[in-house]
Amino acid sequence: GDLGLTVPQPTSVLDKSGLRRWTGGAIGAGRTVDLATGEVVRGDVDRAPGITVRFSGLRQYTVLQVGRDRALPLVLLASVVLLVALPPALYGSRRRIFVRAETNGEGTVLKVGGFALQRRETFEEEFARLVEDLERASQRREVGAR
C-alpha cells in the first residue's frame, strides 16, 4: 500500500485531527482497561463489563523504501562541471580584434576594429586602451626611424 513516503511531512508533527486525549494514564503492554471506569481489568478479561481497550503488546517496526538511481554519478559530474565552468562564464569574454595595415603613399595607416560577444562595456574600455597603446607604439617607431 501507500506508506505516504512520497508526501513531504515533518516527522516531529502528529496529525491530531480526529484524536481525543485519553486521561486515564498509561496502559502498559499486555493490560486491559475498562473505558467506562478507566480502571485496569484484572482477572478474566472477557467478563469485564462495558467496552474495554487492550494493549496487547509492542512490536517495533521500521518502514524502508529502497531505491536506486543509476544517473547519480552523471548528475554529480554535471554539477561539478557546472561549478568549474562558472568562473570563466562569469568573468571571461569572447572577443575578436582586427588590425589592418595599409600603405597610402605617405606611410602606413593602421585600421583597428573589434567586437565582443559578452561584456561589451568592459570590451569598449579594453579596446580604447589597445588603440592608445598602438598609437603610442607607432609614435615610438616613428621617432626611432628619424
Binding site: 513531504p8 511531512q9 515533518p10 516527522t11 516531529s12 523504501q65 531505491g67 538511481d69 547519480l72 548528475v75 554529480l76 554539477s79 557546472l82 561549478l83 562558472l86 568562473p87 562564464a89 562569469l90 568573468y91 569574454s93 560577444l117 559578452q118 561584456r119 561589451r120 562595456e121 574600455e125 580604447a128
Partner: protein
Amino acid sequence: MTTEQWTRISTDAFNVALFAYVSAMVGYFHHLAFRRTPVWRVARLVAVAGVVAHGLSIAARALAADRVPWGNMYEYSSLLAFLVVAVYLVYVEGVRGLRALGGFALAVAALTMAVAVSFLYVGPGPLVPALNSYWIKVHVVAAIAGSSLLSLGAVCSGLYLFQERRERRLAAVGAPAGKGRPAPIMGGSGVRTGPVGSREGETGSIAVARGGLLPTADGLDRLASRIIAFAFPIWTFAVIAGAIWAQEAWGRYWGWDPKETWSFITWVLFAGYLHARATSGWQGRRAAVLALVGFASLVVNFYAVNLWIVGLHSYAGVS
C-alpha cells in the same frame, strides 16, 4: 563557564551589536545628508565595535550550545547580519572606498536582527536530529555567505533605481556643471570629464556623483553586478551541497520540496541576471529590477518557506 553564562553573554553581546548598528546607521545617514567627516569616523568606529560584539555573541552562542552557531533561524539571521556588515566594512568601504552605502547595509543587518530576536528567538540547544550531520558545516555556511552577498547586491540595485531617477531629473533641468550631465568626481581626487561614471577602469574606485556621496548610477550598477557575480557561484555550490545532503539523508537529491524549489527559483533569477548582462548587455533599470526580484525570492525562501509552508525543511525551531 556554564551554558547559562555563555547564553547570557551571547544575548548581551547581541543587544550591544544591534544597538551599535542602529547608532552607526543613524551616523552614516547623517554623514550622507550633511557630509561631516567626523560623524562618519565615529559611525565607522561604532559599526566596527558592533561587528566585534556581534562576533563575540556568535562565538558565545556556539559555546553555549556546544555546536556550530547556525542551527536555527535565529542563529542563521544573526550570522547573516554579521556577514552583511563585515563584507560592507571590508569590501565596499575598505576596498571600494564607498561610505555612502553604510546606512543601508546597516539597516538591512539591524532589521534582520530585530526580526530574529523578536520572532525567531530560541535558546541554545541541541540540533534537530535531521540537521545533525557534517553537511551542516558545508551547505549552511555556503547558503549564509551567498545570501548575505546577494543581499548587499540588492542594496546596490535598490540604490541604483533611486540614483538613476535622480540623475535623469538632474539631466532634465540642466546640471549645475553646465555640461548637460553632472560630471563625476572621483573620490575627491579631481574632476573628470566625459559621460557619467564611465571609463573608471578596473583598478579605480567607483565614481561618486556630484552633489552627494552616493556613487553614480553607473557605478552602483557595476558594483551590484560585481557582488552578484561573486555571490552566484557560492549560491550554486550551496544548492549542490544541499542536494548531496538530501541524497544522503532522504535518499533523493531533488524532490521539489518548497525549500529546494525556491532555492532553484532564486538561482534561475540570478543566473538570468548575469546571463542577460553578459550576452545581451542588460544594464541599469531592467537589470536592477531583476536583481531585486531575485532578492525577494531569497527572502521568501528564508522567511515564508521556513515559517508558513510545510516541508522537509520545517525545522526553524520556532513554534
